[in-house]
């Protein structure tokens, strides 16, 4: 293996090959035990994305760990930080890059350990495809369900169940079929729209990049073929226009004394010269008279292109505003209800002053309450009656009695937030690119939570009424 070079790498191709290829962002979920690092190493290795010095470093490391040097431990290719090497775990999202002649891939390698759920949420937020990994000997485990639930929560449109270690079950068709069926049933409950299952062995390479002759009963695509085939970005372009304004370009130079353009990335949909747009939250309307880029003017631009738009009227448009179609009724408001994943060790405090970041806008806000909590292991939702008045809570008191309805690190719950000024409130379920928000600590700027506006998986699952709940739920809170 060590003698293989990258001289024939397919990604190299001719100029014509790569010029038209597109980009797929994907995430992996699974634990070290499932062979996730080996699978990613295999994808990199078999697409010839591993270069010789990386490979020889891994060979040295394999030998240093007692390997005989004949087989490379592909998992070591993706082992990043020293703490991870020492502890043998993955502690943070790592990004990997590989490509084929058809497509380039940005892979978010997310840890499967429960205390790092926030990293999986992070990796899944931008992914258009998630690979959920299971060990064929163990089948669908609690953590498999958790990974699938987070994938559904974050609205990842495509899911591949990679049934790994098929070599250890003798490439048994019945084993694969049972696991694939169980997962499909679960995916249906979660509302995952597009799920595929592939039997593979990351260690030996079966059905990862190259088709295996040890699974004659499987005539579906290999993992890489699936990654190459799923449509990219189709949903973003099909949604209505959202163009959050990032920056107002006013050169005030002799060549452009009166130029005023609104710079931003088309988050979804399409903007065209001549379109009537509405500026939110102010509500004023105007017409697009130019779409400018460094390379020349455009008549139209589609998500996710970065452009500069000029309007016919001299409106007061600034960073934080959103340009939307004038004829569409887009919801704005000061009361945000959404599902958050709590990302920090400090627990949520009802009544806390926070900043809400959505699109390019940051506004002051009050975290009024947490009124439901999703247990991703059991897929149960605990729901509480609304609190009428905002109570004053001592933030330094972290005892559970002081904050009975709060979220700890990695907990997922529904929040009600009152905003100091109105913002665009797109439901995440239908507007994945604009329906996300952050809760930020105004004191030190840290990100407290990431949220999704409107109904999510949490609301889809049947709520347990407060009067039916088990009183010792706090024992498991905050996982």
């Amino acid at each position: 293996m060590g003698t293989q070079t990258t001289t024939d790498l397919p990604a190299a191709g001719g100029a014509a090959d790569h010029a038209q290829r597109d980009l797929l962002r994907l995430a992996t979920a699974g634990s070290v035990d499932d062979g996730k690092s080996t699978l990613i190493g295999r994808l990199l290795y078999d697409t010839k994305s591993v270069l010789a010095d990386q490979l020889s470093a891994v060979e040295r490391a394999t030998r240093a760990r007692g390997g005989d040097g004949t087989a490379v431990d592909l998992a070591l290719l993706t082992d990043g930080l020293r703490a991870e090497r020492e502890q043998g775990i993955t502690i943070d999202v790592a990004y990997r890059y590989f490509s084929t002649a058809r497509r380039a891939f940005v892979l978010a390698d997310t840890p499967g350990h429960v205390q790092y759920t926030r990293n999986m949420v992070t990796g899944a937020s931008t992914a258009e495809l998630a690979i959920v990994l299971v060990d064929a000997r163990k089948g669908v485990l609690e953590q498999t369900r958790r990974h699938a639930a987070l994938t559904a929560l974050l609205g990842v449109p495509h899911v591949v169940l990679a049934v790994n270690k098929m070599d250890l079950v003798g490439f048994d068709q019945a084993t694969f079929t049972a696991i694939a069926r169980e997962f499909a049933d679960y995916a249906h409950v979660l509302g995952l729209p597009d799920v595929h299952a592939v039997p593979l062995s990351a260690l030996d390479g079966d059905n990862v990049v190259l088709r295996s002759d040890r699974t004659p009963w499987y005539d579906g695509p290999t993992l890489l073929e699936l990654l190459e085939q799923v449509p990219v970005g189709r949903d973003a372009a099909a949604e209505p226009l959202r163009l959050p304004v990032q920056y107002v370009i006013r050169p005030r130079t002799p060549d452009h004394p009166d130029y005023r353009g609104y710079a931003g990335k088309v988050a979804s949909g399409l903007v065209r010269v001549g379109d009537e747009l509405r500026v939110l939250p102010s509500g004023r309307t105007s017409r697009v008279v130019g779409i400018d880029t460094f390379d020349g003017p455009l008549t139209q631009a589609e998500a996710p292109r970065s452009v500069t738009v000029r309007l016919a009227d001299d409106l007061d448009v600034s960073r934080g505003d959103v340009l939307v179609p004038a004829q569409e009724h887009v919801r704005t408001g000061q009361d945000l209800v959404g599902t958050v994943c709590w990302l920090t060790e400090r627990r949520s405090v009802a009544g806390a002053r926070v900043l809400v970041r959505t699109g390019t806008r940051t506004v002051r806000a009050l975290l009024r309450e947490v009124d439901a909590r999703l247990d991703v292991d059991t897929l149960t939702v605990e729901q509480w009656d609304p609190v009428d008045t905002v109570r004053t809570i001592d933030a330094t008191d972290t005892s559970s009695d002081a904050a009975p309805r709060s979220l700890g690190l990695n907990a997922i719950g529904r929040v009600r937030v009152r905003l100091a000024e109105p913002v665009v409130l797109d439901d995440y379920a239908t507007h994945r690119r604009t329906g996300g928000f952050l809760l930020v600590d105004p004191a030190d700027g840290s990100t407290l939570a990431a949220g999704m506006v409107g109904p999510t998986l949490l609301d889809r699952l049947a709520p347990v009424r407060a009067d039916e709940r088990d009183d010792d739920w706090l024992a498991g809170a905050g996982i």
Binding site: T6, A11, G13, A15, H18, A19, R21, D22, D53, A61, D79, G80, L81, R82, D92, V93, Y95, R96, Y97, S99, A104, R118, N119, V121, T122, T126, A237, Q246, Y247, I249, R252, A263, K265, R272, V273, G274, V289, G290, D292, T293, F294, L298, T299, Q300, A301, E302, R305, S306, T308, R310, A312, R319, L355, T358, T360, R433, G436, L438, G445, S446
Partner: protein
């Protein structure tokens, strides 16, 4: 779309509906740069004259066109420079009307802020003058050309990477980055390193240079040069301290894959004289660019992680 009312010269065209990979990477980088311009008071772009920083500057010009780039560029000058690169830097700054800040390693050595190890590389010495310049100019956002594909520790780097008042990077304190909501809030004295090229690979950078027709310092292309071998690399003779009496100088056709301090940036044997040649060479290369040409990354497997923690780029 026949009634375009654009007032700018040139006929407007419809952008191709589907973004290619390079379009997507370009759009992402421009988005990141505009976020910084919108959120920070005093950004600065690190500009070494290396290809990654040149691509960053090109993206910055695109991001704010027709306005000029709204922030200065900073060169951390080790004093061991390739003259071609300094010439390129100065010409670029003049052509685009940029403000250049130079943070000098030599000054830091002269002031006693850093101590030079005899015969050692000056690359690790860049950290002190870099941090001093950030403090002196009160820069709150610093664009770097780092890419996640370069090195294992960088694979976990954020687009927006928070640094404490000592410029230090703590992997456990990094904020989760979801969607494209980059949180640049920081306390006084802290700053944020921003890496718009995070998701680019070396090949992407070269293909973008080809697509955009971006000129580079000529040392990136094959040329004849007097070099000598040290640590398995071809180094250029210079007043920084090479060659030693036992090292033989010979004339070879080489090019540089990275541009850094002359004492530790090695050339590779190459006949790649054009961008297309370089792309073909990089695509078939058996060594990553850092492995081939950076002595300081070989010190230990965790070398980059250690330098990052201390506030290196």
């Amino acid at each position: 779309m026949t009634t375009s009312t654009t007032t700018l010269p040139g006929a407007a065209t419809a952008a191709p509906a589907r973004l290619t990979q390079l379009d997507a990477l370009e759009s992402e980088a421009i988005h990141v740069m505009r976020e910084v311009a919108g959120e920070f008071e005093r950004p600065v772009l690190l500009f070494s004259g290396g290809k990654d920083s040149i691509v960053m500057l090109h993206l910055a010009r695109k991001a704010f066109w027709p306005a000029p780039v709204p922030f200065p560029v900073m060169h951390v000058d080790t004093g061991h420079n390739f003259p071609e690169v300094i010439a390129y830097r100065d010409a670029t700054v003049a052509e685009h009307g940029l403000r250049l800040v130079v943070a000098s390693v030599q000054d830091a050595i002269d002031d006693g802020r850093v101590v030079e190890t005899p015969g050692g590389s000056r690359n690790p010495l860049q950290t002190v003058p870099l941090l001093d310049a950030i403090t002196q100019h009160r820069f709150d956002a610093v664009f770097g050309g780092g890419r996640r594909d370069e090195e294992k520790a960088r694979a976990k780097e954020r687009m927006f990477s928070l640094r404490d008042e000592f410029g230090q990077w703590d992997p456990r304190r990094q904020r989760p980055e979801l969607w494209d909501l980059y949180n640049g809030r920081h306390k006084p004295g802290e700053h944020v390193r921003v890496f718009p090229l995070s998701n680019w690979t070396e090949l992407d950078v070269w293909r973008y240079i080809e697509r955009e027709g971006i000129p580079l310092p000529e040392i990136y292309y094959a040329h004849e040069r007097d070099v000598f071998a040290r640590d398995g690399m071809w180094l250029t003779a210079g007043d920084w301290g090479g060659p030693r009496p036992d090292e033989v100088v010979e004339r070879r056709v080489v090019r540089y894959r990275t541009v850094g301090d002359m004492s530790c940036t090695g050339a590779v044997d190459s006949h790649a004289a054009t961008v297309a040649d370089v792309i073909a060479e990089v695509a078939s290369s058996r060594l990553t660019e850092r492995g081939a040409t950076r002595a300081d990354d070989r010190a230990s497997e965790a070398a980059m992680e250690d330098r990052k923690r201390e506030g290196y780029f």
